[in-house]
């Protein structure tokens, strides 16, 4: 829903990232590049199969300078942390800046869903949000990215030509005309510019 007075862009408060097929390679390009004094929280949905404890957290904790964790219910969202949605839960942002989880039905066959994270974060952060859609073989994230743009946030999409799977970034670009198409290096540069004080 469009609201008056949200068009002026302000200093970002948070970053949300969505990725599916090919996610690990793309995220390995981005997350280790963030410095330890990075000023923004980074919330991430990667499609992972349910019923299995996520190994993403361990993998990225070993490679990143920022603390990496899996979201717990009602956890405060802190600057300079990386938080993955836990397998088989949707992860949402509450207006007060905490995480809430839900076991509501899958969205586009996914739980966690990128759309669910992005839409709730767009609601909570408005123009202070940076949304990033990376490689993937489905259309999750497209509606969510459009919601980020609608709320006045910054929207970045991995160039489909360089993505491992191009369907997801293509759908995001189609649903969100304002989004900028970028290489992974370009996304890193934009995230650094957004979150270095």
């Amino acid at each position: 829903m469009s609201e008056p007075g949200v068009s002026a862009r302000r200093t970002p408060d948070a970053v949300v990232i969505g990725a599916s097929a090919g996610a690990i390679q793309a995220l390995l390009h981005i997350l280790p590049a963030l410095p330890e004094d990075y000023a923004l929280p980074v919330l991430i949905v990667v499609h992972v199969p349910p019923g299995r404890r996520s190994e993403l957290t361990m993998l990225f904790a070993a490679k990143c300078r920022l603390p990496v964790g899996e979201g717990e219910d009602k956890e405060p969202i802190l600057p300079g942390t990386v938080t993955f949605a836990p397998p088989d839960y949707h992860m949402l942002v509450e207006p007060g800046g905490t995480i809430s989880l839900s076991r509501d039905e899958q969205v586009l066959f996914s739980r966690p869903s990128i759309d669910v994270l992005f839409e709730s974060a767009a609601d909570a952060y408005g123009p202070g949000l940076v949304g990033v859609v990376l490689t993937g073989a489905n259309e999750d994230g497209a509606q969510g990215l459009a919601a980020v743009a609608q709320a006045g946030g910054m929207t970045l999409v991995q160039d489909p030509a360089s993505a491992y799977a191009r369907a997801m970034p293509e759908a995001a670009l189609k649903a969100c005309r304002a989004a900028r198409r970028m290489s992974l290096d370009g996304i890193v540069a934009a995230l650094l510019a957004a979150g270095t004080r």
């Binding site: 717990e72 219910d73 009602k74 956890e75 989880l101 839900s102 669910v116 839409e119 709730s120």
Partner: protein, 275 residues
């Protein structure tokens, strides 16, 4: 400060209306997730705004009943998170065996998947005879489904695997027969169960429990309401009683954190402190 969005004003008023008219209190639910559900409800009702939805629900009790059921429905699995049930079996049961009689509360039992899982586990561990189960939910459909104990056959494969991983001593199929288009669980599993309509939001404590299992229910509450619910659990548990939560829930942010100790940390099983 930014003005409150029109949509958020409408949602607040709608939740107030549902509470005053139908005594369902979602006013302290986690905003982001109740908002998603309300949006789906609004789209299903075919109205453009939450104000219009409010109008409809205030004046059409049948539509309101359908929406309230939709807002409160949850689905679960048998032996969901098998490691949780394994920890109950291996670490909590030895303590429970020291009691001559037991009360177990499954708070927010939805369609009874977890109730049946615990009933099977208690039977296999020889505790069934001395146990009374309380299964509560605010959703009447869910309580009825739980008391029928019929589940889709196509889910039995996954449930059987969960049961095996949880340390099950028999075969899950020993506990059900096929009929009514589903897997019908043995009614003897429900002989020692009291089903009841109970709200963690508005209702009071239960009498002294030794185990309360409330998994992925409080994730839909805000912090304040979680504190209320955990306070209920604290007051409903006997000293040394156990509280099991969902795998991504924690008492870390609760005002009642000091009333509990971590009993099996990685499975979110807490114990009511003795002093």
């Amino acid at each position: 400060m930014e003005d409150e969005k029109i949509e958020d004003i409408e949602i607040r008023l709608l939740l107030e209306a549902l509470y005053r008219r139908y005594h369902y209190d979602f006013r302290n639910y986690a905003q982001a997730s109740i908002k998603r559900r309300l949006r789906q409800a609004r789209e299903r009702q075919g109205v453009a705004t939450y104000s219009a939805l409010q109008d409809k629900l205030l004046h059409d009790p049948a539509a309101a009943a359908r929406v309230l059921r939709f807002l409160t429905v949850q689905v679960s699995d048998f032996f969901r998170d098998p490691s949780y049930f394994k920890a109950i079996r291996e670490k909590v049961v030895p303590h429970l065996k020291t009691y001559p009689s037991l009360k177990v509360w499954i708070a927010g039992c939805s369609a009874g998947e977890e109730l049946h899982s615990l009933a099977i586990l208690f039977r296999e561990e020889g505790l069934e005879e001395r146990t009374l189960f309380y299964a509560t939910d605010i959703n009447q459909d869910a309580l009825e489904a739980a008391s029928r104990g019929i589940y889709p056959l196509d889910r039995m494969k996954a449930f059987t695997e969960n049961y095996r991983l949880s340390g099950g001593r028999a075969s899950l199929s020993d506990y059900y027969s096929t009929g009514y288009g589903g897997a019908v669980f043995d009614k003897s599993l429900r002989e020692r169960v009291l089903f009841s309509d109970h709200s963690l939001v508005t209702d009071a404590v239960f009498s002294e429990m030794q185990l309360i299992s409330c998994r992925n229910v409080m994730i839909y509450f805000d912090r304040q309401l979680q504190d209320r619910a955990v306070g209920l659990f604290r007051d409903s548990l006997g000293r040394g009683g156990f509280l099991g939560l969902g795998s991504k829930e924690t008492l870390r942010f609760s005002e009642h954190v000091d009333a509990f100790s971590e009993f099996v940390r990685e499975e979110k099983i807490y114990q009511r402190r003795k002093a």
